[in-house]
């Protein structure tokens, strides 16, 4: 159990059975008055934010989150199947909980799965992943339209803008934090 005095930025607590991370914290104490603990929090499942002010003596249940390294196996209906690398246990994660991570899932990709009370609430993929371009229009030499990028579809179905010189079948690196093209993988 945490008390108000334990509150600080980055602490994870449970409110109404949902995990929250404290994104802003400050201690306030008006002259001769009582201590007030002012927080802004983010719901770790829905991403919604909350402003709350607490007083000394209030208590909080920690949000016990577990981080597990897992490997992507396959997709089934609207669920994604992963396997724990150490226990070989398999779990299913809903499309909602996947967030943008679903754009980068190729077979055997290693990801960090965040679990709250045994339920997956988030998936972290590596910052950079290499994906093959399966569809993009060819670069027309002498194109004078001035466009410096074009759409491309990669093997996961994700569509992004790439430079004109990228051709179908090429491997590209994508920055998963922004979802943008990073570089072409040579060879």
């Amino acid at each position: 159990m945490y008390t108000a005095a334990d509150l600080r930025k980055g602490l994870k607590i449970t409110i109404d059975n949902e995990p929250y991370i404290i994104t802003h914290f400050d201690f306030a104490k008006p002259g001769k008055g009582q201590a007030l603990y002012r927080t802004k929090m983010k719901n770790m499942i829905t991403g919604s934010t909350l402003d709350r002010t607490y007083r000394s003596g209030e208590t909080f249940e920690p949000a016990n989150l577990e981080d597990r390294v897992m490997q992507y196996l396959y997709k089934e209906d609207d669920h994604y199947c992963f396997m724990d690398n150490t226990t070989f246990e398999q779990i299913h994660i809903s499309e909602d909980a996947m967030g943008d991570a679903k754009n980068y899932l190729i077979d055997n990709l290693q990801v960090d799965v965040l679990l709250f009370r045994e339920k997956a609430i988030g998936v972290d993929v590596p910052n950079f992943v290499n994906l093959r371009v399966v569809q993009t229009d060819p670069w027309v030499k002498g194109d004078t339209s001035g466009s410096d990028s074009k759409p491309a579809t990669v093997e996961t179905g994700y569509v992004l803008r790439v430079p004109p010189f990228i051709e179908e079948g090429e491997l590209i690196t994508i920055d998963t934090r922004t979802g943008e093209y990073s570089t072409r993988v040579k060879g």
Partner: protein, 278 residues
């Protein structure tokens, strides 16, 4: 220099004391059976009672559990006490002191200009509630939300554009201050704000030992009902109070004043080492 020119004597009093003032909301750090001072107030008032009419001190104080962008558990306090003066005299003197420390007529804090030329704003707590909130000080006190309203709705609007003295606090918020003779529902206490930051707390001192003891008993009872550590009654201070002249005293957070003068957003920026860096 400022204080020497005004005839103040610099004093030193012990940091480690057996009996801090039993205030409900201020927690002392225990030290080998005694306590680290939360303020030099009680010892300095004993010096007033002993016949030193103008005294000042810059010293370290400690308050348990206080840490944030404006709080350090160990911080530097400037306190001064003046016999035969009241809180209004101290408002004037505080204006002079801060203006002397700044050395210029206008400063910028967090992108907002603060004009230090006189006069500074003086507003009662009652009027500040009327001006900045849709409740009253009395209603907020009754609802137990006085401090929240102060922090969220009022403090950020004090000392903007020019410094603000907010004064005449509800009697229940002022354990060591004299009540106003014309309106005993308020105490002769003020706080100084610059740029939304609380800089100093001052009052016309309560010098009636019987009244002071009753207030301490009430504060101690509040501490007990909040499950907080009790302190021994500061008997030697209460005994000295009978000899204390009419006086006013002020406690000014020196780190906070430096924050404002140097345009620092966090108290961490004005000390060499924070608690976490030790």
């Amino acid at each position: 220099m400022f204080f020497q020119e005004k005839g103040y004597l610099e004093v030193e009093t012990p940091f480690r004391i057996p009996a801090p003032a039993p205030e409900a909301q201020i927690d002392a750090i225990p030290s080998d059976g005694w306590f680290l001072q939360t303020s030099p107030e009680l010892c300095m008032k004993r010096l007033l009672a002993a016949g030193y009419p103008r005294i000042f001190q810059i010293c370290r104080c400690w308050r348990a559990g206080e840490r944030g962008s404006r709080h350090l558990s160990e911080f530097t306090m400037l306190e001064w006490y003046r016999a035969e003066a009241d809180y209004r005299d101290l408002m004037d003197e505080t204006e002079e002191m801060v203006r002397a420390a700044a050395g210029i007529d206008s400063i910028t804090y967090r992108g907002e200009k603060i004009d230090l030329s006189l006069p500074w704003e003086r507003v009662t707590v009652r009027d500040a509630f009327l001006r900045h909130t849709d409740t009253t000080a009395e209603a907020a006190l009754a609802a137990g939300t006085f401090d929240e309203v102060m922090v969220e709705a009022i403090e950020p609007r004090l000392g903007i554009g020019r410094p603000t003295f907010i004064y005449d606090y509800p009697a229940s918020c002022s354990a060591l201050a004299r009540l106003n003779a014309e309106d005993p529902s308020v105490a002769e206490r003020f706080e100084l704000y610059l740029g939304g930051l609380e800089i100093a707390n001052a009052f016309s001192e309560l010098i009636d030992p019987i009244e002071q003891r009753a207030r301490f008993v009430a504060e101690a009872a509040q501490r007990a009902s909040d499950g907080k550590q009790g302190y021994p009654m500061p008997e030697k201070f209460l005994a000295a109070l009978a000899d204390m002249p009419e006086a006013a005293g002020i406690a000014l957070g020196l780190d906070r004043l430096v924050m404002v003068l140097l345009d620092a957003g966090s108290i961490d920026d004005v000390v060499a080492f924070t608690t976490e860096e030790l």
